[in-house]
Symmetry: C2
Subunit: 333 residues, 2 copies
C-alpha cells in the first residue's frame, strides 16, 4: 500500500503522453495530489501547483510518484538527484519504471538511511497464494476486451466514479502498473508467477459487503495470443458477477499481432460467458463500452446506437458519454 497524498514527479517529460501515469492519477484521484514537480524542459502540465520538495512536504505529501516515463524506462541522473532529495526529506517514492528503484544503489542507500520505502509497482511485493476457487461475498465486475488496450481500465474507473457519486459501495481493483499508482494498491498481474495468477486476483478481491462492488481492471484479452492466460486468470480468480465488453472499433489487427484479427463482440460475449460460468454460473454480460477516441461525435453516437440494437445491451463510451447506463445495468442485477 502506497501512502497518500502524492507529489507527482513529471521530470523532463518530452510530451504530455510521457506523463500519462501522472495524468491518470490527476484524473481519477485528484484528492491524492498535493502538487507537481517539473524539471527544466518539461512538456507536461497537470494544472497542479508547482511545488518544491520542501513545499510538498509542508503540504503533507507522503510519497513522490514517478508519473513520467522516458524511452527505455531508466532513471536519469537528473531524476536521481530529485528522487534522492525527496527520500532525504522524508518521502517514500513509487515508480512503475522498468528499471527498478531497488536496483539503484544510491536510492537504496538513501532509503535505508532515512527509513523510507521504495515502491516498485512493476513487480509483486506479496507472496500470493494458489487460488482456492471458494466463492466470496460481495459482487464483482470485470471488464473484458476484444483486444489489449481498448479501455478496460478507464471503463472500470468511470464506473467507480459514477457509483461513488450515487453513494454505492465500489472499489476499483488495479491489476496493472498505472492502476496501482492511481489507487495506491493492487496486483501487477503480468509480473506474477504463472501458478499464482488466479490466487493473486482472489487476494485482490476478498470477501466484502453483499452490496459492495469490486470493479476489477481487466488485462489483455481472451483472444490475444500473447496475454490470454493472464486474462483467463482474471476471469477465474475474479469470479465476476458482471462482465462489461470493451472494444476499440478502429483497430486494424490485434495489438502487436499483425496476422490476428479481433473477435466480434458476439464472439467475445459467448466465450467469456462460457469461461466465467466455470466459477460463477450466474454471471451476466451487462453492457458494452466502446472506446471512440478516434471517432467524431456523430460516428461515436451512431456506432453505440447500432451496437446497442445489435447486442441488446446498453452501449456507451464511458469516458465520452459517462458510465451511468453501465452502472444502471449493474444495479439491476
Amino acid at each position: 500500500m502506497i501512502e497518500t497524498p502524492y507529489l507527482l514527479f513529471l521530470g523532463d517529460a518530452a510530451d504530455p503522453l510521457a506523463a500519462k501515469v501522472a495524468q491518470g492519477i490527476k484524473d481519477w484521484r485528484p484528492e491524492f495530489c498535493v502538487g507537481q514537480l517539473r524539471l527544466d524542459g518539461c512538456q507536461a502540465d497537470m494544472g497542479l501547483d508547482d511545488l518544491t520538495i520542501e513545499e510538498a512536504i509542508a503540504k503533507g505529501a507522503k510519497t513522490m510518484v514517478i508519473g513520467v516515463a522516458n524511452r527505455g524506462g531508466y532513471i536519469s541522473d537528473s531524476w536521481r538527484e530529485v528522487i534522492k532529495q525527496a527520500i532525504e526529506s522524508g518521502m517514500d517514492v513509487a515508480s512503475g519504471l522498468h528499471n527498478l528503484l531497488r536496483d539503484d544503489i544510491d536510492l537504496v542507500e538513501a532509503a535505508s538511511q532515512n527509513g523510507r520505502t521504495l515502491h516498485d509497482v512493476r513487480i509483486p511485493s506479496v507472496k500470493y497464494p494458489i487460488a482456492n476457487g471458494v466463492k466470496r461475498t460481495g459482487k464483482r465486475m470485470l471488464a473484458v476486451g476484444t483486444d489489449c488496450s481498448v479501455g478496460k481500465m478507464y471503463t472500470a474507473l468511470c464506473m467507480e466514479k459514477v457509483m461513488r457519486e450515487r453513494g454505492m459501495k465500489a472499489s476499483f481493483r488495479a491489476t496493472g502498473q498505472t492502476g496501482i499508482l492511481i489507487t495506491g494498491d493492487g496486483v501487477p498481474l503480468d509480473a506474477v508467477i504463472a501458478d499464482f495468477m488466479a490466487g493473486a486476483v482472489e487476494y485482490l478481491t476478498p470477501d466484502n459487503d453483499d452490496d459492495h462492488w469490486d470493479l476489477i481492471e481487466g488485462q489483455g484479452s481472451l483472444y490475444h495470443a500473447s496475454y490470454s492466460g493472464v486474462t483467463l486468470a482474471l476471469v477465474h480468480g475474479g469470479a465476476p458477477d458482471a462482465l462489461v465488453l470493451c472494444h476499440e472499433p478502429t483497430r486494424k489487427h490485434m495489438r502487436g499481432l499483425p496476422d490476428h484479427q479481433q473477435p466480434s463482440l458476439e464472439e467475445l460475449r459467448d466465450t467469456a460467458l462460457i469461461l466465467a460460468r466455470v466459477v460463477n454460473p450466474d454471471v451476466k454480460v451487462v453492457g458494452v463500452a466502446i472506446n471512440t477516441q478516434h471517432l467524431s461525435d456523430d460516428e461515436a453516437a451512431t456506432l453505440c446506437k447500432e451496437t446497442e440494437e445489435r447486442m441488446g445491451l446498453p452501449t456507451v463510451d464511458p469516458y465520452r458519454h459517462g458510465a451511468e447506463r453501465l452502472v444502471d445495468a449493474l444495479e439491476s442485477i
Copy 2:
C-alpha cells in the same frame, strides 16, 4: 539442456511413489539411465544396476538426477553428502525439488570449484520472449484435460513412443518438472512470469519439418480455477493442429477444489476448440484418452467403447491399451 546419460538418485525413498520422477525417466527414457544409487532404507527400485558414483562415472554418467521427493522437498544431510560427492567426481546434478540446489551453499561451492552445473528444473533458466503469434512450420498436438493430473503427460509420452516406433518424427515437449527431468529439456511453465507464458511455449515448440509432430505436455485445465491461465497460454502459445481430450472418470470434484465439478468431455471439446481456433483455425480434436487406473479391465473397455460412440472419436487409455489409435488419428489429418 541437461547432459545425459543419468545416474538416478533414489535416496532413502519412503515408498515407490516417492521415486516417481525416477520411475518416469526409467519408463520413458531407459536409454538415458546407466544405473541407480540408493541409500540405506530405500523402498524404491527401478530394476537398474545399483552403482556407486565412481561406477556411474565409469559407465559414462554425466548427470545425477534427484529422482526422489521427500515431504517438504528439502535436501537432507545424507542426500547432501552424496550430491557433493557426485559433483566432486565430475557429474552435474539435476533436481525438481522445491528447495533449490542453487540455494544450498555447500552445493553451490562444490559446483563452482569443480566446474559443474546445478540444474533446478523447477524454475526457468531462460529469459523467454513475449509470444508473437506467428505461425510456425511443423505440426503440434496438445493434450487438454477435464481436470489437472488426469494423464496428459502420459498420453503425450505414449503417443511419442508409438510414433517413434513407426518411424514418424515426434518430440515430446515437456512443460513440467517431471517431464523436463525425463527428457532433459523443456519449460517449467507454472514458474514462468505471466507475461511470458505463451512466449515460453512458442520458444519450446519452434519451426520444424512439415511432417514433424511436437507432442506438447499439457498443464492444468481450462476448467480449473487455479491454473486455467497456464492452460490457455499453452493453447495459444502452442497453436496446436490436434487436441487430445484427457479425462479421469473417478474424480469426485476438481482436484483441490471441492466445490467445483469437472466439465463433460463435450464441454471441454467445444471450449478448447473455440480457444484454439484463435491461433489455428484448422485445429481438430482427434481423440480421447481416459485414465482408467482405478477401473477393472472390463470397466475400462466398456467406458472407452461408450465414450467412443458418444463422442465419435477414437477413445483409449493410452497407457493401458496403447496409443496406436490416437496416432492413427494424428496421421489422418
